[in-house]
Symmetry: D3
């Protein structure tokens, strides 16, 4: 499926922490560049996510805030 979301970033699942309802998933995009997602545990299980497997982090561009130090 092709998506309208401007950010479809390919990476590797580095870490999965399951809570009671939600799961925290860490995707490594490149060495040292990681993105954290929170999805429902039901979704994490449905996707069959496993540490070391491939996955994409998908983000709609208006959901990205820019910060400058």
């Amino acid at each position: 499926m092709k998506l309208s979301a401007r950010n479809v970033l390919k990476g590797t699942v580095k870490e999965i922490n399951h809570g009671a309802v939600d799961s925290e998933v860490v995707i490594e995009l490149s060495p040292g560049v990681e993105i954290v997602s929170i999805i429902t545990k039901k979704s994490a299980e449905g996707l069959g996510l496993k540490v070391g497997g491939s996955a994409c982090a998908i983000i709609k561009a208006p959901n990205v805030i820019i910060g400058v130090e």
Copy 2:
């Protein structure tokens, strides 16, 4: 300022495209890993964003969808 957002990703401004109201900002996180943000032109100007300058892409973890091929 420290933020509750789980994703505060440091990078370099690679591209800025100003529309009438919104601006599209591309941040390079590492070679070949880019993230696109849409912010208001007023914000882009207020931040003084310039191609080549440093900037962070900030994303709350629940706004990240996971995809698996």
Copy 3:
């Protein structure tokens, strides 16, 4: 691609209105049930969206507010 988003609703493109930067896309999920999306014009063109074609409306569950009258 399988997605973590809980809502992946199949439908038909009923209407596309292109603005300068953004496009408004109306997806008909069933007769009389429509959902409106705003995406960038660049995305709309990249997806090759056409009135009458198939498309999915994808929404993360925490982005849905419930209202009761």
Copy 4:
């Protein structure tokens, strides 16, 4: 109250699953077309949601991603 959100979709509460903090609410918009929302349990109780009752799913248009297979 009238809302700026472009999607105010009327339906029937089909399922409510209460977690410790959050509740998952399934709204049936038409036969076979369902939308899942996650709200706080406190909100679900405050709204007096009941299976079989009427409810609206409210979604701002920029929160809808379009996918094409």
Copy 5:
């Protein structure tokens, strides 16, 4: 209509700036406390928003980031 969104903040419309597609609406919640919203121009017109009129700013709690200096 009662809403699941935790933040339904009453105020007064202080400013409306119409763009080609989107409108920027500033709501004053109390003297000196303002919140800015971007909605489609179509929605702004449909709501009949006028400077000086009453309006609510509605925000789902997971969309609020916390910052500490």
Copy 6:
């Protein structure tokens, strides 16, 4: 850090309720004007949030819905 988010509202932490995974944080912007945020407990602890301390509520303008009664 300067942010592109149009709403960076200064206030005082009025209440913190820790769940297993998430924390609910109430920020008082002015007497009687409060905003509720849900962040991960890990973030709440990382920020060192304390009742009575200063904090900002940060919201991107497209995440604010307008309602009119």
